[in-house]
Every structure is written in C-alpha cells, then in structure tokens.
C-alpha cells in the first residue's frame, strides 16, 4: 500500500513537471527562454517518472527486491533487467536532450537571433 502511494506521488510529480515544461514553453517570451522551460520536462519530468517506475520494479507486485528478500533469485531477474533498461532510457534522454538543446541554441545564435531581454544589463550582454 505504501509503495503504491509513493510510486503514485512520484509519477504524479513527474507528470506535473512535464506539464510545467509545456506551460513554460507557451508562457516564456522567446526561443532561448523556452528551451529552459522544456528542460524541466526533459530532466525533472522524465527523472521523476523513471524514478517512480524504478521503485515499482523493486518493491511493487513481484518486484525484484521483494523477490530477493524472499530468496527467489530467479524471480528477481525480470525486475532487475527492467531497471537496467529504465536507467538506460534516462541516460539516453538526458545525453541526447542536452545535445539537441545545445544544437538548437547554437543554430538560433548563428542565425543571428537576438535573445529577448528585460533589463539593461541583459540587453548589453546580447550585443
């Protein structure tokens, strides 16, 4: 029961972070600042969802940690293999996400797009 609640909270918070990134994508003023908002979906959103799934793979129905504690080494195998895949997914998301964002920002900059700014200090830094 506790595991269900914890996993539910993690998945819920992850979903909230994903929506936050989407809302920020619409609310923020220009392409550069919008990239920061989408980063919330990429990093925190994906991270919390995967974390929730990892907890479930370990302690949920037929989880590997439960199986190990009961001495069923063979029953723990699928859960452990799933965990490896989940961590791999997060790793590739984070590495490819940063690379894509950098490529996007670099393309915008090389194209001469001047970032939106508000204060004088910000404006002078973009010239």
């Amino acid at each position: 029961m506790i595991v269900e609640v914890v996993v539910g909270i993690l998945l819920g918070l992850g979903g909230l972070a994903c929506i936050t990134g989407a809302v920020g994508l619409l609310r923020f003023p220009d392409v550069y600042s919008r990239m920061h908002a989408s980063g919330v979906t990429d990093t925190l959103g994906a991270g919390l969802v995967v974390l929730g799934l990892l907890v479930w793979a370990a302690l949920g129905d037929g989880g590997w940690a439960t199986a190990l504690a009961e001495g069923h080494a063979e029953a723990a195998k699928p859960g452990l293999l799933q965990s490896v895949k989940l961590v791999s997914i997060l790793f590739f998301l984070w590495v490819s996400g940063t690379t894509a964002v950098h490529a996007l920002a670099k393309a915008a900059w090389l194209d001469g797009l001047v970032p939106w700014t508000r204060d004088e200090e910000g404006a002078s830094s973009t010239r």
């Binding site: 936050t20 600042s33 920061h36 908002a37 980063g39 950098h102 900059w109 910000g122 830094s125």
Partner: protein
C-alpha cells in the same frame, strides 16, 4: 586497442543486460554482433578518445554525478516555479565562461552539465570560451562563480 576492448565490453554488457537471455544461440549471436560492430567502428575510425570517452570514466564521477543531479533538481524546481508565477521574473542574458579543463572530454562534460541544468544553456563553444544563455541574473551568477567548472576540473584529475 584499449578503446576497442572497452567498446566491445560495453556492447557485450548491453547485449546481456538488455536481452537477459543466456542461451547458447543468443550469446553466440551477441558475440558475433559485438565483434562485427567493434570491427566496423574501428574501420570507420570512430574508436578513439572521442568515440569511446574512457577519459571521463574516473572515480570522481561517484561524487560529481549525484551533485550534478541535485543541481538539476534545484534548478528545475526554480524554473518550474517561474513557469507558474504571475511574474516569472525572467531577465535573460548572455555570459562568457572560461572552462579550465585541460581535455576536450572534460570541456564537453562541463558544457553538457551547463545545458542539463535548466536556467543555463551552452550556446557556443570555442577554444577557451563557452557562450551561455542564462534565464535570469541568479542563474548567471551561479555559473559565473565557477563552482561547476572547478568540480569538473577536479574530476578530470592530473593530466
């Protein structure tokens, strides 16, 4: 040779852990695939310090990665709060930071760490200069303090 062996090792481990099969047929196919991939990558000239970044695998990663993870969480929460705030308080600016890492791999790790934390994005990277877009002054100041730069350089260790 060191890089080829490392590549083959990582490929073999990936094959084993992602398939989970230990039958002779699948292990044999895996061995063939790993050998073919490693040979192809070598022929294409991809197997070097850049294609197989062994240099970044250092003991310091054990402390650096959790620290980076925590920074990602903190800055994500900050950006997330700004998304929902009535006044997001955005004041974007560009700033230049000078990476102190000696190796290219170290610099890539630093620049990617900057981009991974919401609030700062590496835009351009030239010899001794990384151009960064920061979402607001605090994010810019945090990066300019050079804390992350020092940690990556320490991770890199003596050359």
């Amino acid at each position: 040779m060191r890089h080829t062996l490392a590549l083959a090792g990582v490929l073999a481990l990936t094959w084993l852990l992602w398939s989970g099969h230990t039958g002779a047929l699948l292990l044999g196919l895996g061995l063939l695939s790993v050998a073919a991939t490693a040979a192809l990558a070598r022929r294409m000239g991809l197997v070097d310090g850049e294609g197989v970044p062994l240099a970044v695998v250092r003991p310091g990663l054990i402390t650096y990665l959790p620290w980076l993870l925590w920074q990602v969480v903190l800055s994500s929460i900050d950006v997330g709060r700004r998304v929902w705030a009535r006044d997001p308080g955005l004041a974007p600016r560009m700033l230049h930071v000078t990476p102190t890492q000696a190796t290219l791999t170290g610099r890539v790790l630093y620049a990617n760490s900057i981009t991974l934390t919401p609030g700062t994005i590496s835009v351009m990277m030239e010899d001794d200069d990384i151009l960064v877009h920061a979402l607001h002054a605090e994010a810019a100041d945090g990066l300019a303090s050079g804390d992350m730069d020092r940690r990556v350089t320490a991770l890199e260790g003596p050359a």
